[in-house]
Each structure stands twice: as C-alpha cells, then as structure tokens.
Symmetry: C2
Subunit: 473 residues, 2 copies
Amino acid sequence: MPENTEAAPETQKAVGEENGHAEEQSTEETNGVEKKEDSLKEKEEPVKEMKAVVLLSFGGYKGVKIMKKPEPTPQNGEVLIRVKACGLNFQDLITRLGAIDSPPKTPSVMGFECAGEIEAIGEEVEGFEVGDRVVALPEFKAWAELCTVPAKFVYKLPSEISYNDAAAISMNFVVAYIIVNELLSLKPGKSVLLHSAAGGVGLAIVQLLRTIEGITIFGVCSKGKHEELADAGIDHLIDRADYVNEIRKISPEGVDVVLDCMCGEDCNRGYGLLKPMGKYLLYGSANVVTGETKSFFSVARSWWQVDKVSPIKLFDENKSFSGFNLRHLMYQQNGADYVRSAMNEVFKMFIDGKIKPKIDSTWAFEDVCDAMQKMHDRKNIGKILLDPAQEPKPKPPTPVKVKVKKEKKEKVTSPTKEEAPKAEEAVAEENGKAEENGKAEENGKAEEEKPAAENGTDKVEEVKVAEEVKAAA
Amino acid sequence: MPENTEAAPETQKAVGEENGHAEEQSTEETNGVEKKEDSLKEKEEPVKEMKAVVLLSFGGYKGVKIMKKPEPTPQNGEVLIRVKACGLNFQDLITRLGAIDSPPKTPSVMGFECAGEIEAIGEEVEGFEVGDRVVALPEFKAWAELCTVPAKFVYKLPSEISYNDAAAISMNFVVAYIIVNELLSLKPGKSVLLHSAAGGVGLAIVQLLRTIEGITIFGVCSKGKHEELADAGIDHLIDRADYVNEIRKISPEGVDVVLDCMCGEDCNRGYGLLKPMGKYLLYGSANVVTGETKSFFSVARSWWQVDKVSPIKLFDENKSFSGFNLRHLMYQQNGADYVRSAMNEVFKMFIDGKIKPKIDSTWAFEDVCDAMQKMHDRKNIGKILLDPAQEPKPKPPTPVKVKVKKEKKEKVTSPTKEEAPKAEEAVAEENGKAEENGKAEENGKAEEEKPAAENGTDKVEEVKVAEEVKAAA
C-alpha cells in the first residue's frame, strides 16, 4: 500500500513542528527504493490532507487545534481507517491537561476511539480487508478523518452495529464488561456504589449490572441529572455532595462494591463504606481533572490524598482493592487479546439487545472544546461523540482575537474557544442551540442549571492550569 | 436443659484460676430460681467433669495443659456437643503464641473446630435436635470432650460424612471454597501460586482448583514433601527457599493469582510475581509463627515487613489485593450465613466425590503439643486431627521433672513436653512409633529428614517466645 506514504518534503516543512507523528513515520526505515519513488511521485501530486484534532501543548483548550495534516499511511501491522465517528473519553481530558502518565509527544493527534471503514492495510496484517467496517481503540490519533491503528486494536463490526453506536459502546462497554463480568463476578443480591453514574461508562455499568438478579445500585451524580436518570435502572440516585451519609441512611451497613472512577479523597471515603467481603475497584482518576481548584498542585494532591492500603488491614477487614486501567492493559501490558475477547462479548450483548448505548450528543471536530467542556462540567448524560463530517456550530458574532505569533505557521481551520474569550456568552447560547438539534431531552436541562458565566470561569482556570503545568514541567 | 448447669461452688474454687470459661458462665444471668435449685441439686450430685485442652498462658507449649473441667451447659442460642474429632488449625498456633488479635482471656479451652453429636440444646435454638451429628466452628473451646457452641456456627452433617472427615474438611474446605469459588472466580487457563501447598488448606485449595479446567498450580512447600505430593494435582512443586526465581524460570511473565497464607516479606515477593489483571489474596499469617528467629520482635516484624499498597499502583498495574480472614468474618463481621452457605457447598462436593480430605495424623489430647509442633515445623501433609477418645502415646521412660509451684493446684492429667526436656530424644522416638500406628506413609518420611535435636531446639525457642511475649505485654 505505498499510496500516500508520506508528505512531500516541502509539505512536511510547512506543517513543521506540529506534525510529530507524520515526521516519526517518515523517519522509520522502509524499503529505500520505494521511498524514493514515492517521494518523486508525491512531488508531482498534490499532498493529500486530512482534518485532525491536534494537541499542540498540554493544559487548557488553547492547546487544542483543528488542523490539516498529511494523510497517514499504515505501517507494518497497521490498518488505515476512514473515520466516521469518534468517542470522547475522560482520558482525553486528562491527556489534554498533561496529567496522563506517559503522555504523547506534542503536537499529537488526540483521541482513543473511532469507528469507520478500512481504507488501506499495512504489511503483516491478517484478518482485515479494505472496506471492512471496524471500530478501533488506538493510543491517541483517533480524532482525524483518517487514522492508522495497529490491527490488534481494531475490531470488525457486525453489520447490526452503526458507526455511532460502535464509537459509543466500544470503550465504555468494554470497560464496563471487564469490571462487571470479569473483575467483580457479582452474586445476586449485592449492592454497588457507582460514581459518575450518568457518564458513558457509568451508564454502561448500570446496564451490565442490570443483567444480574437483585443488584442494588447506588448511583452518584449531580442532583440536576436525577430526573432524567429516573428510568436508567439506578435504584438510588445519590447527590455527590454528601454521598457517604446519603448511602448510610439507606444502607447503614454500607455496600458490597464501590466502583470508583474519581480517585483522590473519594478512595478513602468509599473504602469506609465497604461491607466485609466487599470489593473496591478503582478504574479512573477523574478527580485529577475536576479537583476543586483545578491547579497543577491540586492534580498532584488528588493522588497524594489516596491513602495506601495495608494488606493486613484488608486481611483483617475481609476486603479487596482492585485497580483497572484499560489503557495500561492494552498498550503497556500486552492485553490486546484479553480486550478483544471482551469486545466480542460486548458486540454479542448489543446484538442480543441486552445493552443499548445512551448517546448524549454529537459534535463537529471544530466544536471539540465545547464537547470537552461539557464532559469536564459533568453535564453529559451518556456518551459524547465527535463526527468528522459534521458542520461546526455557527461562530459567535463577536470578532475573534486571532493569535499570530507562533501559531501563524499552523493551518488552523477553526478558532478554539479560548481565542474568543468575549464570545463566551455566545458559546453558552450555542449550547442552547444544540438542544434545538433534537437533543433537548439529553443535554438541555443540565445545561440550564448552571449560569453561562460559570462555564466561562472554568475555561479561564483551565488555561491557568496549562501554564502551571508547563511551569512545573 | 438445667442438667449440669454449673459446677458446685467447691468445685469451682478447686479449678480456680484456670477455669475462666466456667466462671463466666456461672456469673451469667439466668433464672434466679432455677439457679438456686441447680445449686442444691449439684451439691448432692458429684460434679461431672470433662477433659479439655486448656491454654493457661500465651507463649510456648508449657502454657498448654490437659485439664479436667466441669461439663459446660448450653446457654441461650447454644448447643452442647459431645466431641468425637477436633481439627488443628494454624490459628491455634497463633493463639497459643498470643499473636492472634483479640486473644481469648486465659485460661481458656483451645480449638476452633470439632465434630460430634448434640447432647443438649439451649433455649432459642431452632433446627437442631439432641442426637444430631454436627460439625462446629466455635471461636475457641472446641478441644474438649464437650463443647458449647452458638448454633449459628454449627452445621448438621450429612450421613455420608464421618466425624473425622467432618473435622478434616469443614474449616479447610470452607476457607478453600470461599477463596476459589467466591473470591477468585477463576477462568480456565490461569496460573496460581499457592503457599503451604502441603497443608490442610493448601491441599483443599488444590482440589478445588482442579475442578476448573486448565489451571496451572505452582505449589510451594519444602523439598522433603515433593515426592509424597507427586500425585496431589500440583503442576509444579516449588521449593520454598527460592520460589520467586523458580517460578520465573518456568513462567517468566509470572502468575495470575497468588494465594498467600504466609504474610510478612512474602507479600512483597509474591506481589511482584503477579501478571497484569492478577490477584493477590492474603488469607493467613503463618510467618507470625514461623519467622526465622521466632521472637516476639520477629512476630511484630513480619507485620511491619508488609509494604502498604497504593491504590494508584494497583490502578496503574491492573492488579488486585484481597484479604480473607474466616475468623473475623464469622465472629466479628456477622458472616455466619455466608459461611453456612459455603459449608453446604462443601458438603455437597464431598458427597459428590469431588473433594476428599487428606488426613495427616490423629492425636490424643495429651499429645496436642507434639501435634502442634509438627504443624509448626511444617511436617504435616494434610489435616492434623485430635481425638478426645484416643489413648496418649506411651510416656518416655526418663523421669519427668515435675513443676510444683503454681501448677500443683491444677488438675493436670498429662505432662506436656516441656516438662520433660530430657525426654526429647524419646519424644522423637515417639514420633517414630506413630508410624507404626498405620501412618507411616503420611508423616514418616518428613519426620526422618530432620534430626530430633532440631525439634528440641525449636521447642526451647518457643518457651523463650512465651517469656518475651509476656515481658512485652
């Protein structure tokens, strides 16, 4: 598949610093002869480009740009996917903030989840054909019109699953499946405390817990979502503000399982709620992003706050503490086969009608920062998707403050929100317009509860974080 | 059931200090009228007595005495069992040493496990009748001719299960069942590192693991036992001396599960052997008793040595750490129903021929210290039982150095081994005689490997421990 192997030299210069991935590819050893031929060919042809969500620097939203990049080519073991739908996950927020471990080298195309059609196949790939409908869980690079992914992280889609549904279920339900069906092995009659119950993974976990008889679910989420989640299958909707006492009121002896994607201080609180023979499962670190002060130091604190657990205490108290980190399992711990078998189970459950994704909203690449902000503010109920083909929302009418210095070299196709700070009220209004796009029941109400100004304050703080992170780095 | 409600006043004075339990019972509030009548009755009748293994003080074997005590009477919620067989468990050693948490008030009848026939039933007991064949897991008091146990810790025996088999399977297989079938929920193809594989619980775990397809078992035990365990169902018999490297040689990537009843430094070693998605389960603390120097300070160190586990590390490494402590679950954490349902499963498996206890040896009460020493030295293969009806081994021919001071008040029916230090060689010979009792294949070979003198040294050290424990208390 030597088509579009790499950008022509002059193009590569043009995209300059921000094109880390393409550069890395071009320096990889390939057949020398072919390489030269390609270069000649490409000099004659115009470089094919694609749109991508690129992280230029860690921190606030201003580091996130929509850019044109040379189309990638699948290397050995990779497939090239024409992306139709992308999933937004919490680890995208953690990545942007730079709080993720082993972060990508910026600039880097963002995203861990996409669905689409295979457009080309690299060498040494078996079991895939051009035209296959697939979903993929690459480590970064998913949010682009085209995406190269190692075949071991690509899963063929049954015809019953649409691209949107695929992007909505694959990450969330694989996490939920491994937690509920592999790690917990719950017996009927047990009780579960679930943090972020209204998020994509939260709702996926609820659906899988509902396949077991007599499980009592305590779902923690902000009060504003309780009404909309009335039919989600959660037995007790608990406000986050005082969840420990709320749960103790209903179940004085505590719960059998805590599913925690928050980490930080919540670990200590939740552990105390465990009954004997209870299991604590930490599967995320959302507090890294949503700490109250949102400074680099609060990020660090959210880790320090976690008390270490004494094995002797676990022995004395008949408790267990588990960690689950899909990213590490897949990309660092050789867990591709394990995840593939979980993915197959998820597909089966979808086809059998046992699970059904709840999609909160779908956004254009250009509006990715609004989408991220919505997740940051915990205003989504269910999965947030990105659609590379979707038209961006109309821009605010106020003039855009364009930054020129370093970024003028970049082919920025859409200003991000931070470049139009005065337009924040307009952004809030945009959120309102999304409701008119047929998503009123999904994201409308929560949005209305918080004044637009608060949204704005958060964003400004995020920018500050970026600078603090840089300063500390 | 006012028969034998309590000892007559003069008897109580006679058994004096050592009869803590009987005293406690007699001071409990009962119907005042009945009490008086009983006292009158008993003044006329001779006080009925029973033989029991009593712990007079924590530490070495000299604190363990075989004594006559007034027959106990079941209180509300209790049944009285005529004991036919008792189980020796590692926690008996830990109790004797005083290293158990919430230790009994000495003097106290020892033992956590007995099987026998119900002889009387207290008030407010349902589901049991006099004459029922039962096994019981009381918190202490099991090693006596008669034992009162709260009915919630008593389990009716199916007719297929003998008293010996009951005492051999109940504690060990309930622990094994909860570990293997409730806590691990192992999928086929996983690998398990099992400490103390030759012990009662270890062999029970092996049998239950063998009911799952394709489990690879790495069983750690002393080299001397490997030959005898050739057919036990353990895939890789590993010598304790260098087990980490031994296992790495066979499985460089480690194991999926570590089952650890050692604690201490082994926790840290074993955790490092876990694969991603691996589970560490701590279910005992044998290192408390078998630390190299066997001093009080080494007991304490075996706890300090255990590294605390960071939840973040578990999250990063996709690992879990669980603790299981049957004693706490049953007596402190309201887990009687949970244990009863596990016990029923164990009985079913026994009747179905899926499990079969391995009995190492059966001992008279009078020889309980030899039995404990055998377990201490890890020389048993399978369960050690006590039989209240069994005749003690012939005493050594050397004159016994009788202690007279404090102990002369006690009704000691048999000298313990420490009272005859010069008889140690003879004791070793006794062990030899046990072989003639038809147990040659079971405990003979291991015994021969260690010189008798070593046995003796251990015992002397134990006495030292007793003093150190006392000094520190």
